[in-house]
Symmetry: C2
Subunit: 187 residues, 2 copies
């Protein structure tokens, strides 16, 4: 592939992207990241997270500003609707990760995009989290992602989505699961 | 347990919470929810999701306003830092779900909370998503949640966290995984 004709494609600086890949190949320690969110309870099901600092490329770094998000339950789930539910943020994370991957991979392959839009739906039976059934799982039973892509050759676009799925961090987490430890300081 | 002395505890309307549980016991169809996020690519790794409508309690419903969130990569990951990364939203979703559960369960048990705060950290080795190693997974390798709770008896507070973990939708999704299907309309 040639990148010299247009180093920025789909808004992706492919020259920097390839330089980053080369840097990581030369020193895999650069690739070890640690992300972080802090959360504070407000009232009832309403709480707020901030994402600011993270570790990566062998140093402590920070987003250009603290990003703050509210989560809550809607009234039908006995909340005050000050934000989306936690489970909706999972849908957003999945769509966002796959879409970022699509833009990067298309750019790396020299494929132009004019539109990427998606809808993610998740089915959940609240009999689980309400403690009313031990046979119903707590989380989503099924997630469905529907992508619409416009740009170059449709076959190439489909193959970009497939490669994004194969290399998506959130798709991996959501489909395969991750060990989670919980510590409690109660006093 | 008695709920008549204080129907609102920790900002949770326990009378409505118990009424909701009774309603679902009487008609399990009420518990079948479908959440939804729509996402639109902006440029590069920057994209935006909206959560507004959802299905639940046997009808199409909506949040009181559309909630819109940007995701992006920071400059070190060849993005423009217009929002947190998709993987950071997963940390937020996990903290938010566990915290909402803590508030609800404590209220249902008549336990008062004065503080619930948490930090969620996730370790990720980008050799996976960069396609530089087939032995490194794409997603987080480990998540750690640290809670600080203040309020009534510490033993009771710890038991509330444990029950929230047992009934958290996002904890279930993140630890056990969910089937995800992806459809593509490319043209």
């Amino acid at each position: 592939m040639t990148i010299t004709d247009n180093p920025v494609r789909n808004g992706v600086d492919t020259a920097t992207l390839f330089a980053t890949l080369d840097a990581v190949k030369g020193d895999p320690e650069i690739a070890k990241f640690r992300f972080r969110a802090t959360n504070t309870w407000v009232s009832g099901t309403h709480n707020r997270s901030t994402m600011h600092g993270f570790y990566g490329a062998k140093q402590e770094m920070a987003h250009r500003e603290p990003f703050t998000f509210d989560a809550d339950h809607p009234p039908v789930l006995v909340g005050s609707d000050n934000g989306p539910t936690p489970v909706e943020y999972v849908l957003h994370a999945l769509a966002a990760c796959l879409t970022a991957g699509i833009a990067n991979i298309a750019a790396a392959r020299g494929i132009n995009l004019t539109e990427v839009s998606s809808t993610v739906e998740g089915d959940i039976d609240l009999m689980g989290i309400l403690g009313l059934s031990d046979e119903v799982r707590n989380g989503y039973q099924q997630l469905r992602v529907s992508f619409t892509l416009r740009g170059d050759d449709p076959e190439k676009l489909r193959s970009v989505v497939e490669q994004s799925r194969r290399r998506s961090a959130v798709f991996d987490v959501v489909t395969n699961g991750v060990p989670v430890s919980i510590d409690v300081d109660a006093g």
